[in-house]
């Protein structure tokens, strides 16, 4: 197995186990590269990548841009706030216009689920999904699994609980697919109103008691409550949410084992986790950020090598 089975990274759903293995092995090499005095390699000097962000993002956008630049690709950035999208242009027209400037690869975040798949069928470029609505966020799931592998040695056989707003989370779905593909057990935990109906059909356990969930798991991935996606009230108050589903130091210390804490960011300190937990030794939140660049370099490198000259 020396190349990816796909030409686009639209979701973890489309990957197989060997693809993930190859991405991780390649990311290991890039992680070594980004710890050198000079962190840049010339591999992608003849590739141009467009970062299209139709939705706000800080770390994902920076992480992708850094990954692209460390591979020596040419990068153009676009965010919908300052574009013709506001003037009524369609997605295909926007992207076709950009591609006619000879762009080889598109990294796209979009509020609509399936936007990446749609685009991959209509334009001639390699597409990386950087988040499509509440659907998938594949590179986040890959870097989460990579960070678990780095901390605990292997993903296989590990128990991972995803805590919080599962309903509005693309990170949750991609993580469920990625973890299961690698042989981990997955549980979701949160208020009933924020857990999608029938999610147990994906083969995940459902728990509404945080203490029980944390006692079961090896790793807890804490998600942010996505207030901006909520049109109605899903729980009485933030204070009550924190009391039932927030992780603090006392709760962690009262468990009979030491679990690993993850968070995809951005953190609402004091809501889903307290500051002392976020900054503790059990937390690998900043490792996740560093690994994000290496994993994205691996994905871009492997997809770019499939673009024919």
């Amino acid at each position: 197995m020396s190349e990816l089975s796909v030409n686009h990274l639209l979701g973890i759903k489309y990957l197989n186990k060997q693809d993930i293995q190859l991405i991780f092995e390649t990311a290991d090499h890039f992680k070594e590269v980004i710890n050198r005095p000079i962190k840049k390699v010339p591999s992608l000097r003849d590739i141009t990548i467009a970062n299209l962000f139709f939705e706000n993002s800080t770390r994902t956008k920076l992480s992708f841009e850094l990954a692209e630049k460390r591979l020596s690709a040419d990068v153009i950035n676009f965010s919908s706030a300052q574009s013709s999208v506001k003037k009524g242009e369609t997605l295909i027209d926007t992207v076709s216009n950009i591609l006619s400037m000879k762009v080889d690869m598109v990294v796209m975040r979009h509020p609509n689920p399936g936007a990446g798949v749609f685009l991959s069928k209509h334009v001639n470029a390699s597409i990386i999904n950087a988040g499509d609505g509440a659907h998938e966020h594949p590179t986040q799931a890959l870097l989460d699994s990579y960070s678990i592998r780095e901390r605990l040695g292997d993903v296989k056989g590990k128990k991972v609980v995803i805590v919080g707003d599962i309903l509005h989370s693309r990170v949750a779905l991609s993580n469920i697919f990625a973890l299961q593909l690698q042989g981990a057990q997955v549980m979701v935990c949160g208020p009933k109103t924020l857990i999608p109906k029938y999610i147990d059909k994906l083969g995940v356990k459902v728990e509404t008691n945080l203490r029980k969930a944390l006692n079961w798991c090896d790793v807890a991935n804490m998600l942010r409550v996505q207030n901006e996606r909520m049109d109605i009230s899903y729980f009485p108050s933030t204070r009550e949410y924190t009391q039932q589903f927030g992780v603090n130091k006392d709760l962690l210390d009262s468990l009979d084992k030491e679990i690993t804490i993850m968070h995809p960011g951005p953190i609402n300190r004091g809501v889903e986790i307290t500051s002392d937990v976020a900054d503790s030794k059990q937390s690998i939140i900043l490792d996740q950020v560093q690994n994000g660049v290496a994993v994205r370099m691996a994905v871009i490198y492997l997809l770019a090598s499939k673009i024919k000259q």
């Binding site: 020396s2 190349e3 990816l4 390649t26 090499h29 070594e32 590269v33 050198r36 005095p37 000079i38 962190k39 840049k40 390699v41 010339p42 591999s43 992608l44 003849d46 591979l71 490198y301 492997l302 770019a304 090598s305 499939k306 673009i307 024919k308 000259q309």
Partner: protein, 179 residues
Amino acid sequence: MSQKVLLNAKEVNIILHRLACQLIENHNDFSNTVLIGLQPRGVFLADRLAKILTEDYKVKNIKLGHLDITFYRDDFRRGEKTLQANTTKINFIVEDKNIVFVDDVLYTGRSIRAALTAIQSFGRPNEIELLTLIDRRFSRHLPIQPNYRGRQVDVINNEKVKVNWKEHDNEDSVYLIEK
């Protein structure tokens, strides 16, 4: 596919000892010298040379590294397959050091060109030399020549030189394979 023996185990051993002595002649106690084996196949030769220098010639503190050049190659997207990387292991500072690149076969010189670029990511060496077990004459695409060579051979383009190592391939030998 036919193959013929270019060097047997005894000949490889004699050549390795000569190369080791030549290195000592130029680098004395190796206090400011590092050996860098080029991935994938140059590392076997570098490891072996370091072993000979340490055990047979009592040179102390040989610094040995492995350098992977995959991301610096000039044929990315030009072949059918994805270029897969190997491990780089350089646990020392290369700034102002005398570097000896070690590779098994010198052919077009393109790998060495990539290695020259790659090593710059680790600092600015004082000088860089090249040691190669087999030097394929008249086949260079770039103006690159070895400082230390084991054996010079004339090989036509559809033939391949394969270097085997005891640690990896069960014997020390060099074959000329006709494709």
